[in-house]
Subunit: 284 residues, 2 copies
């Protein structure tokens, strides 16, 4: 039991996530965005490297983002801090970190203007006037591109930091974050992450002591270094079972499926030799 | 709208959190530990500074922890990676980061032994033998103290990194994490975080445009820099409302209550002058 073997992730597929907002770090709001993004990026074959929750402070945001830039992921994605109020300062922190001027982006301003015109058309006594707080949502670091927000006022933002890393900033409201991800972010996802997939096989065992299978799993992981091998207890309709979860994300889905099938065969054989009975294998 | 004002947190109350596990970063498991710990630490008057999700890799764990050490929080708390299998490597990563030898801790080994003897006494055909994987859970960095785990095999760990910062490592299974927090971790919480509290007042408004109150909130925040002032939409039984949440965590609960009451009065006055009607104030 010396080193563990880790799944190999091509660097161009790495993603790092940042949920920004004091309300998350005092527990007023549960951050559901990170888990949704983890599942969405994994399903695209990407490798989510780390995730962070960060306070609404210039230095905190800048320090977290600049540390991640040194790790050179293909995508850095923030959620939160794009709104009209004063503590929404993600884009200002990005501009300051990169030494870029903040400019009123004409397309972003047009998106904000259209949103409030729409709201004024459907709500009584609602003004479409672009006050300072609303205009703030169109203040972008120079060179950044707005991402249309189908269900809210604040546009998202995409900015190539260098040839390796693209920064994407999404709103913190989950419905807006998801809608941008599923629409205006798609071209950027295709350009940076590309096609790919994720496959997971769960071997369900009849007995539950994790410590007895550690050595066997170590050998299986060593023989299949690109597959992620993990044991854990899971509750099903027929009760708590020990499971071995084999999973693999990547761009070549055919390769992934072959690797997982081979790993599953080897794992079932090794577990059977230890006297475990496989109840079923769940594939998805 | 230049700088935002941030709540003042005494450095001795700062906490940084680390959820460790690849299963969290591929989305197989939703990390609920971080939110529970954020709420628990905030309720004690502590200031959760940042939170991270990190892969089960030596370099990832070591890099995340050493970055946080430079920020010198009073507590660093990890969850996950204490179990018997090979990818549970939190304590080995800590030992390597700090240059400490890993030793079999007699008290930790006794805790593990008792757990398996108990399990063998209640489960048919269950061996209490301390195999290598089980003994691994008692391998602690030199100088660390085990924390009794009332509901699982893996003891928690506490280690003073220096005079400023204590590192606490808890299991990733939520029930075990919570049970240790509520029992064997308590003396360490009292020594490091001490007594304190958290108070939150939510002002519920009759109308919903966040952009119109930005300037007023800015002034209120500036006048009460220790209070955290945040507007957001919240759904109640009578529908979606714009709310202004005033909150404060700290060691002096009487001071906190006074500050919040004064801030609430000022906020209600400013919002009334803008034409907003306060539906109710929720205190907790």
């Amino acid at each position: 039991m010396e080193e563990t073997f880790k799944p190999i992730a091509p660097p161009e597929k790495r993603v790092e996530l940042f949920a920004i907002g004091n309300e998350l770090l005092v527990g007023q709001v549960l951050d559901t965005n990170t888990h949704w993004l983890i599942r969405s990026f994994t399903a695209l074959g990407a490798h989510v490297r780390r995730a962070h929750i960060v306070r609404d402070e210039y230095d905190e945001i800048a320090d977290s983002l600049s540390s991640a830039m040194r790790r050179a992921p293909r995508l850095m994605v923030t959620t939160g801090g794009l709104g009209p109020t004063d503590d929404d300062l993600t884009l200002r922190a990005v501009a300051r970190l990169l030494g870029l001027p903040l400019i009123e982006h004409p397309l972003a301003l047009e998106m904000v203007r259209r949103r409030y015109e729409y709201l004024a058309s459907v709500r009584p006594n609602f003004s479409a006037e672009l006050n300072e707080a609303r205009r703030k949502m169109a203040l972008f670091p120079q060179g950044a591109h707005p991402l249309a927000n189908p269900s809210g006022a604040a546009p998202g933002m995409a900015l190539d930091l260098n040839s390796q890393t693209t920064l994407v900033c999404l709103p913190g409201v989950p419905s807006e974050m998801k809608d941008i991800f599923n629409t205006s972010l798609q071209p950027i996802l295709q350009r940076t992450i590309g096609a790919g997939g994720y496959v997971e096989h769960t071997i369900v065992l009849d007995r539950g002591d994790e410590s007895r299978i550690a050595a066997a799993l170590h050998k299986i992981q060593a023989a299949h270094p690109t597959v992620y091998v993990k044991s854990r207890g899971q509750t099903f309709e027929d009760g708590l079972h020990l499971t071995v979860v084999l999973s693999h994300a990547g761009s070549d889905v055919q390769f992934i499926r072959q690797e997982l099938s081979q790993t599953e065969q080897d794992a079932i054989q090794a577990l059977s030799e230890l006297g475990y009975r496989v109840l079923r294998v769940i594939e998805n």
